[in-house]
Symmetry: C2
Subunit: 197 residues, 2 copies
Amino acid sequence: MTGLRERKKVRTRRALIEAALRLFTEKGYEETTLAEIAAAADVSTRTFFSYFGSKEDVIFHDGGIRLEAILGMVGRRRPGESIGDLLLRVSEASLNWTTEEDLALDLSLERVDLIMSVPALQAKALHLLFDSQLRLAKALHEAYQDEIDLLEAATIVGSLVGAAKLTVMAAMDRGDSLEEVWKAARTAATSTISRLT
Amino acid sequence: MTGLRERKKVRTRRALIEAALRLFTEKGYEETTLAEIAAAADVSTRTFFSYFGSKEDVIFHDGGIRLEAILGMVGRRRPGESIGDLLLRVSEASLNWTTEEDLALDLSLERVDLIMSVPALQAKALHLLFDSQLRLAKALHEAYQDEIDLLEAATIVGSLVGAAKLTVMAAMDRGDSLEEVWKAARTAATSTISRLT
DNA sequence: TTATGATTTGCATCCGTTGCAAAATTGCAT
DNA sequence: ATGCAATTTTGCAACGGATGCAAATCATAA
C-alpha cells in the first residue's frame, strides 16, 4: 500500500509547501522564485510543476477537498431540512474549516495573511471561490429541485457568499483581529440567510 | 488643448484596443501574443506597456471610469432617499452601462464573451469587481453614517453584488441569451435589495 | 538481478514583464 | 526655419514562470 514511492511523494509535496510558505512570508511572494522553492525542497525546478500547476497553486493545495465536502453536505441534506438551515450548517462548516495538513504544518494563519496581502493570490482565491459558488448553486438547485430554480439558487448562493466575503474583507481591511473577522463573517452569514428564506 | 501629441496617443490607444480585441476573438486570447498586437497597431512591443499595464488591462481599459461614476452617485445621494432606493438606482445604472468608447468601436459584446470564456480575464474581472465592492461599501457607509456601520454596509454590498454576479454567471453558463442574462441580473438585484431593507 | 514502469532532471524555448539608455518626435521660443 | 527642451517611442537585455521533450534515475515486482 504505502511503498517508498508514495511516501516520498508525500514528503516532497510537503517539503514544497513548507518551503514555499516559509520563503513567501520571509521575503515576500513576488520576491521568491520557483527555483528557490525547489532548491529549498531539494528538487529540481522542473519537478515543482509535477506537483503543482503554478506558483499560486502551492498555496491553494487543498481547495478541491473543501469544496467536495461542502457539495457532499448539500447533496446529502437532511430530509425535511429547510434551505436556510442547510445553508446555516454549510456556512458554519466552511468558516470552521482547517485542513489536516494545515494543522500538521501549522500554516493556516500565514496562509490567510498571504492570500489577503498578495494581489495574485487574492485573484486566484476569488476565482476559485467563484467556481465553487457556481457548483454550489447547482447542487442547491438539485437538492431542492421542486422549490427553487437554478437562477434563484444562484441568487441565494451569490448573496450569501458575497456577503460573507466582503464582510471578511472589510473587517481585515479595517485591521480587525482574526477572531473579530470570523465573528463578523458569522454575523453576516446568519443575518443574510435569515433574510433569504 | 489637443495637440498632435495627444491626438496621436488617443489614436494609438484605440488601435491597440481594437487590434487586441480583434486578434483575441479571431485566434484566442492565449494564442495571441503581445508582439502581434503591437505589430497590428504599428507600435513596438515595448510601447504597449506605456499604454496598458498588462495583457489583461487592454480589455478592462474603462474599469476605473465606471467605478468613479457609481461612487459619485452614492456620494451625492438624494437627501431622504432610502438605502434601498439608492441601491436600486445604482444597480440600474451599472447594468445599463456601456462606454462611449465601446459604442464607438462596437466592442461591448465581444468583450463580455471574452471575459466570460478566458480564465485569466475572468480572474481579473473578479478581482476588479472585488476592489470596487470594498470602495462601494465604504462609500455607502459614509453616505449613511448614522444608519449602518462599515461591516453592515459590506454585508449589504457583498450580498447584492454577489447575487447579481452569480446569477449572471449561472445564466450564461446555462447558455441564456444576453437579454435573458441581463434580465436575470435585474431580477436578482431587485429581489435581493427588497430583502435587504 | 534484471526488466518494467514511474519519476526526476536538465535542457531549450516561449511569453509576459521590466529597466535602461539611445533615438525619434513634438512643442515652443526665438 | 532653427535650435532647445520635454515627451514618447524604441531596441535591447534580462528575469521569472511555464511547457515540451528526451535522457537519466529510481522503485518495484518477478
